[in-house]
């Protein structure tokens, strides 16, 4: 299962397991990942967790900004639309930094292979 680790001065201050199909990030108390900080919108972004439609066992994590005031950034590029997260991506929510870690991704074979029919 993937986690979102909040970084403060490059140290993990908090970790959130991405264990539900839909997880909201924001300042509002009903957000599964609540970030109580002034630069974060009430409902700032969402992460969707989906089984990959073509590759058995692979799970995709997609992030979408929810029209936040201060934006969502992936590896310093402002998020525009929906984007798949890759392990070690750096996510900035307002002024808050997170590292997306997906240990299962590292177990995937890196060399080319063919899907069996």
């Amino acid at each position: 299962m993937a986690v979102l680790s909040q970084l403060v001065d490059n140290v993990v201050a908090n970790s959130f397991e991405l264990d539900r199909p839909l997880m909201h990030l924001g300042r509002h108390p009903d957000c599964e990942i609540r970030i109580d900080e002034i630069s974060v919108s009430a409902h700032h972004a969402v992460i969707e967790v989906e089984q990959n439609a073509y590759l058995d066992g692979a799970v995709d994590y997609y992030i979408t900004d929810s029209a936040s005031t201060n934006g969502t950034f992936i590896n310093d590029i402002r998020l525009n639309g929906r984007q798949r997260l890759n392990s070690n991506d750096l996510i900035r929510i307002g002024w808050n930094l997170f590292r997306f870690i997906d240990e299962d991704e590292n177990a995937l074979e890196k060399t080319a292979y063919i899907l069996e029919e």
Binding site: N52, A53, Y54, L55, A58, D60, Y62, Q83, R84, N86, S87, E105, N106, L108, E109, K110, T111, A112, Y113, I114, L115, E116, E117
Partner: protein
């Protein structure tokens, strides 16, 4: 009209073996041409064997009939040869468990005067260079391409996808693999380019045309692309075939 062909394969900068195989031939009259690139996989020996067996099978089956096949029968001829190549691969694998996972991509160009058929399985590609522009003629048989097609990811995200190398089709995985065949009409001055993913991974497509413009001779153009990919530390085997229609 005249056809010219040139091809080159290189081990790249990191691999210990070259698992790509290529072949190309032009008829003595210069009006027919056949070119194939296969990019093998499945272990050190398996990948080498798979690509070699498949290229030899395709060339054996198609070269003798290249100049005497009616246009309407070309796609069927190609598919029959693909099926034969898959059978040869299966025969080679039999009784050799170390070759269990071997397989190969294939991209093939059949040029018959102005008409061309491109067939492919996997992520080896075919391109058309015409009037100073580059057009990809094949669509990769990969999980990544399917995700692009269904809108899950953008083309820019493919390079970062951890399973970008997973193929949905190739020779070696299915009993009766079916190639995707594309037909097009050539114009004077057109060039076809076939390549393995070693080129596309190491050398972004926008770099190709400026590079190719440096050399008038086809052999030098092919060499120029391969050399540029090596300068970029191509970590996979790199293979390129070009066919020019004059």
């Amino acid at each position: 009209m005249s056809l010219f062909a040139a091809g080159l394969t290189d081990i790249g900068t990191r691999r210990s073996s070259n698992q790509d195989t290529l072949a190309c031939t032009v008829s003595p009259e210069g009006d027919h041409a056949l070119a194939v690139i296969a990019d093998g996989m499945g272990g050190y020996r398996g990948g080498e064997i798979a690509s070699r067996v498949v290229v030899e099978a395709l060339m054996d089956a198609l070269t003798p009939v290249l100049a005497r096949t009616p246009a309407a029968q070309v796609p069927e001829r190609i598919q029959t040869a693909i099926t034969l190549a898959a059978e040869r691969l299966e025969d080679t694998r039999r009784g050799r468990p170390e070759l269990d996972r071997m397989g190969t991509t294939v991209v093939l160009a059949w040029v018959q005067q102005q008409r061309t058929w491109l067939a492919h399985l996997g992520d080896s590609r075919g391109y058309l260079l015409r009037d100073g522009s580059l057009c990809q003629l094949t669509r990769d048989h990969t999980v990544a391409q399917r995700m692009v097609d269904d809108g899950s990811i953008s083309p820019d995200e493919v390079a970062r996808l951890p399973f970008r190398n997973v193929l949905t089709q190739a020779l070696g995985a299915t009993a009766e693999p079916r190639a995707t065949v594309t037909e097009l009409a050539l114009q004077a001055g057109d060039r076809l380019l076939l390549c393995s993913d070693g080129l596309t991974d190491a050398l972004p497509e926008p770099n190709w045309l400026p590079l190719l413009g440096r050399w008038p001779v086809l052999d030098d153009q092919v060499r120029g692309l391969v050399d540029a990919s090596l300068r970029n530390q191509a970590d996979d085997n790199v293979s390129v075939v070009m066919i020019q229609y004059c």
